[in-house]
Symmetry: C2
Subunit: 201 residues, 2 copies
């Protein structure tokens, strides 16, 4: 009974990546569907057929990218207690360096999409909130690991420290986009890390 229909002729991952790059560079309102079609190589009919309207396509790209971001933070922060403090310092520094190295200044797609759309698209706002919550949880887990290893004062609230660090990370992103120098961003990272309640050894 089931008859197989014509299969898709495009690689969904590649198409979504091309669409993401357009939205990332030009923003949601600043990117036309025709541009996305040209960048992906698909006809508009295929684009609409596969992903729905412009907003749905953006949301798909936004959520996929958010998941990638959380995964990369997880990779950076998860690991044994003994090296948790090193991973934490390294991650904050790595974000500072990556932000400072971003020649294009296009910044983070999650931040950009949230800035543009969260006020009038609850789905975007909710997705961004989940993303930042997930990153905050990863930071908190890493801090707890460092506390178990007695690198960070165990009496400190790991959730409070995590939410502060998340704010610092997002702040570095915002300042980097405005043109703050790489050295200035690294300075912020070092100051933030330095003020944490480390246990003297």
């Amino acid at each position: 009974m089931l008859v197989v229909a014509r299969p898709r002729s495009f690689d969904e991952t590649r198409v979504l990546r091309a669409a993401r790059d357009r939205f990332w560079s030009s923003g949601y309102a600043g990117t036309s569907v025709d541009e996305v079609a040209a960048a992906t190589g698909l006809g508009k009919g295929s684009l609409y057929g596969a992903f729905g309207d412009k907003r749905s396509l953006f949301l798909r790209v936004f959520e996929d990218h958010s998941a990638d971001l959380v995964d990369s933070v997880r990779q950076a922060l998860e690991g044994p207690d003994a090296s948790a403090s090193e991973r934490l310092k390294a991650h904050v520094g790595a974000v500072a360096r990556a932000t400072g190295n971003d020649i294009t200044r296009r910044g983070c797609l999650v931040a950009k999409g949230t800035a543009e759309l969260s006020a009038d698209d609850p789905a975007v706002a909710a997705s961004a909130q989940r993303t930042f919550d997930a990153i905050e949880n990863l930071l908190a887990s890493c801090i707890e690991a460092a506390q178990r290893h007695r690198d960070i004062d165990p009496s400190a609230d790991p959730r409070q420290l995590a939410s502060l660090l998340l704010a610092v990370l997002r702040g570095m992103e915002a300042l980097g986009r405005a043109g703050k120098s790489k050295a200035g961003l690294i300075d912020i990272a070092n100051t933030a890390v330095g003020l944490l309640p480390w246990v003297a050894h």
Copy 2:
């Protein structure tokens, strides 16, 4: 020789405020010149005649608003050394509360405009950088005042603490837009303030 011509019939400040509100709510690309004309009550010809093209109008609005922001931070942070630490704590807390109270979640126009346009408009990026530099300097001055009054450890580098606090402030803005609760934002503010190198009294 000089003959006086027809004077403007609109209040420039009111017009710029109406234009600012449109850009603030809908972003640069998401706002049409027709919408701005309708919101200001001016015809398009007047708008173009008075402010130039869309980008010039946006830049004007953006820079005026940035100057207002710097002024308000100056008002909050300037004052005698004896109360500098209180002003610093109060300002960070006030930003957290204001961000948490922003029902519309439209956030800060400087952040939003920078996110949307800094990558392809050097004038926007330069303006944002000047704005953030000015705020950082105000924070540094307030920290120095608190150090003179021996509220903050005088051996700390006030510029480093200022740039960290600026990052925290911009981070709170970004997280607030994503939906972080008012209580969570206040928590971040308290944690950041609490980690500063206060002198015990």
